[in-house]
């Protein structure tokens, strides 16, 4: 068995968007040529601002959106090419936990029905008794006790934390290998978050899971992930060990993001790198380095021609790290 669960190569996800009823549709380059490996058993955090393509990436891997190019190899097979019953079978290996437990659960279904649904769709339970046993086991494993009573409830009877546990139970019931977790705790109160994250990490140990953990919260990514991948406008900016990326960021974009991470300490901030403006739209991706217009380092260096002319490719920068910048390096 390879130590790589997934090999994503040159992944492209483009879709058309109309900016007005009478305008021509334009191509949105949500994921724009992305390559990385997902190692078996790791937590890979995908971070970046809105529009960086992190959510689209998660959806492309679980085949919730179609890819326009590239490949995603799983055990040597290209996930993007499987269809029909085989796709359905493989989908059981990849499950998603969504952000909003208030919207992702059907209010008219009981907790039992919500958690049992994947088993019914995949026809995995041979009898009513087996179905019941597996649903109850999944609820217990997700910390919803007593399972029998919880199974009879409806989503509105549960707290936000309990709802997210239901999402986790439903995602785990097919015993997947990969969980794509898209901002799974950002809607929850801080005091509840830790328990949900801890549950997810415990289940990783128990079920030998791999997580693609999508978040905008860099300090959360730092705390739970083995590696962090930073995206900007659909491209890889930097990838490496969580601690290395946060405490030794090499790309000027990562350095800026890290410099504004809020910390629960009263102190005057120093060394904040405030980027001007906001992420441009993935419709009008500029030539050359797409971060150039907001890049503090490019400005500091007087706008080198190479930044405008050539798109930087991710290049190795030390142990297990890749950085896509012509002038990568620690600042200050």
């Amino acid at each position: 068995m390879s130590d790589k669960l997934l090999e994503v190569r040159d992944l492209l996800v483009r879709y058309e968007s109309r900016r007005g009823p009478f305008r021509k549709p334009s191509a949105v380059r949500a994921v724009d040529g992305l390559s990385f490996d997902l190692r078996r058993g790791e937590v890979l955090a995908v971070v970046g601002e809105s529009g960086c393509g992190k959510t689209t990436l998660g959806k492309a891997i679980t085949r919730l959106v179609g890819a326009s190019g590239g490949s995603i190899l799983f055990d040597g097979r290209d996930l993007l090419k499987v269809e029909g019953s085989e796709l359905r079978r493989m989908c059981g290996c990849f499950q998603t936990i969504f952000q909003d437990p208030y919207e992702s659960l059907d209010p008219r279904q009981s907790i039992f029905d919500i958690v049992a649904e994947p088993l019914l769709i995949h026809r995995e339970a041979s009898s009513e008794a087996e179905l019941r046993a597996r649903v109850h086991a999944a609820l217990e494993a997700a910390g919803l006790h007593p399972a029998e009573e919880m199974a009879r409830r409806y989503p509105h009877m549960l707290s936000g934390g309990q709802r997210q546990r239901v999402s986790i139970a439903a995602a785990m019931i097919l015993e997947p290998e990969l969980i794509v977790a898209d901002e799974p705790v950002s809607m929850l109160d801080v005091s509840i978050r830790a328990e949900i994250i801890r549950l997810m990490l415990e289940l990783r140990e128990r079920n030998r899971l791999t997580y693609l953990f999508i978040t905008h919260d860099l300090s959360l990514a730092w705390m739970i992930a083995d590696r962090i991948m930073v995206l900007y406008l659909g491209k890889l900016v930097e990838i490496g060990g969580a601690d290395e990326v946060i405490h030794g960021a090499l790309h000027p974009y990562t350095q800026a993001l890290v410099s504004v991470i809020p910390v629960p300490e009263a102190r005057s901030r120093s060394g904040q790198i405030l980027l001007k403006g906001e992420t441009p739209s993935p419709i009008d991706v500029p030539p050359g380095c797409r971060f150039r217009a907001r890049c503090w380092k490019c400005a500091e260096l007087g706008g080198p021609a190479i930044c405008a002319e050539r798109e930087p490719e991710p290049l190795p920068a030390g142990e297990g790290r890749l950085v896509a910048c012509h002038f990568a390096g620690t600042h200050l």
Binding site: G161, D189, V190, S191, A194, V260, P262, V263, P264, L274
Partner: protein, 321 residues
């Protein structure tokens, strides 16, 4: 003192019974202060703050207490008097800038409208000029005042909301979760803007947030609420460096801190109590790791730790040392 809330109680009527959202809150702030009001959902922070300009939902009643603004009790005032104070003396930056602007009206004219409504003597040209000044002040090019909200990015909409709150030169601004739902970089930009405005204009501001990190690095003073009560207040430095209430300490411990060792944060098991039948004693009793018998029987007295640092827990005196 610019603002003094004394023993404020607010209730919400609900089918299940009255929810006692704010239960005897006493809190004051000086002119020019940037006060952070923190707490989790349901702690009563937004309700307490919105009681000041009397902008509570219909089913809410102020059941007791006083709100002294510049020495005058706002709760004793009639609606016309409050109407005169709103926006001119006390204004609000509402949560969710995306939905707070009218989508079919140009942003600049929405702000001009607020000025014209509250300051009848102002002419249209004067109002337009003020809008352009306000735009520059919050960092939007004046020319963009003719844009519609959908042409603005999220950060610019939030800046416009801040401009609108400042339109009639208020003395107190209440900002309700002004950076929630914005990107990290935009959050930092808006917080810097808020800090700059407060020091340049001598504004007093209440910054409501569930995020202690945001309050820690922005505010001079902090007040932390739980289950409708104030659990701790004090200078930001004192409270964050030596939290005296077990809830404050636990909540602080729930935030990852990239300046410290990489450890897994501890959450706070359990849920806040129901405020339909609020507990007799300490609201945090059920979740408190340091509780002792008796904590659930009577409401804990406030312990004064000096320098305006107060915590509602008998352990406070020993705990903060």
């Amino acid at each position: 003192m610019l603002l003094e809330m004394q023993d404020l109680c607010v209730r919400f009527a609900s089918r299940a019974g009255d929810v006692q959202a704010v239960r005897g809150l006493s809190l004051s702030m000086a002119e020019g202060e940037l006060l952070g009001l923190a707490g989790e959902s349901g702690s009563g922070k937004t309700t307490a703050a919105m009681a000041i300009p009397r902008l509570l939902p219909r089913n809410a009643t102020v059941a007791g207490g006083r709100i002294l603004f510049d020495g005058e009790d706002l709760l004793a005032k009639g609606e016309p008097e409050m109407e005169a104070l709103r926006w001119k003396a006390i204004s609000v930056v509402f949560q969710g800038a995306m939905n707070a602007l009218n989508p079919v009206q140009r942003v600049g004219s929405q702000i001009a409208e607020a000025i014209l409504h509250h300051e009848a003597a102002t002419g249209r040209d004067e109002a337009r000029r003020r809008v352009e000044e306000l735009f520059e002040l919050v960092g939007i090019p004046a020319a963009r005042s003719a844009s519609y909200p959908h042409e603005f990015s999220g950060g610019m909409r939030q800046r416009a909301m801040i401009a609108m709150a400042l339109a009639c030169k208020p003395r107190l601004v209440i900002a309700d979760e002004p950076i929630t739902a914005l990107d990290v970089m935009i959050q930092a930009q808006i917080l810097n803007l808020i800090k700059r405005l407060c020091s340049e204009l001598g504004l007093s501001m209440i910054l409501i947030s569930h995020d202690l990190s945001v309050i820690a690095e922005t505010c001079d003073r902090v007040a932390i609420m739980y289950a409708g009560r104030l659990v701790e207040t004090g200078g930001a430095r004192e409270v964050f460096e030596s939290p005296a209430h077990p809830y404050t300490a636990a909540l602080l411990g729930a935030f990852p801190n990239v300046n410290k060792e990489r450890v897994f944060v501890a959450g706070i098991p359990g849920n806040p109590p129901s405020l339909i039948e609020p507990p007799r004693g300490c609201g945090f009793y059920e979740r408190c790791a340091r509780r002792s018998p008796g904590c659930d029987e009577a409401e804990p007295a406030s312990v004064d730790l000096g320098g305006g640092h107060v915590a509602a827990c008998p352990l406070a005196r020993g705990g903060s040392r």
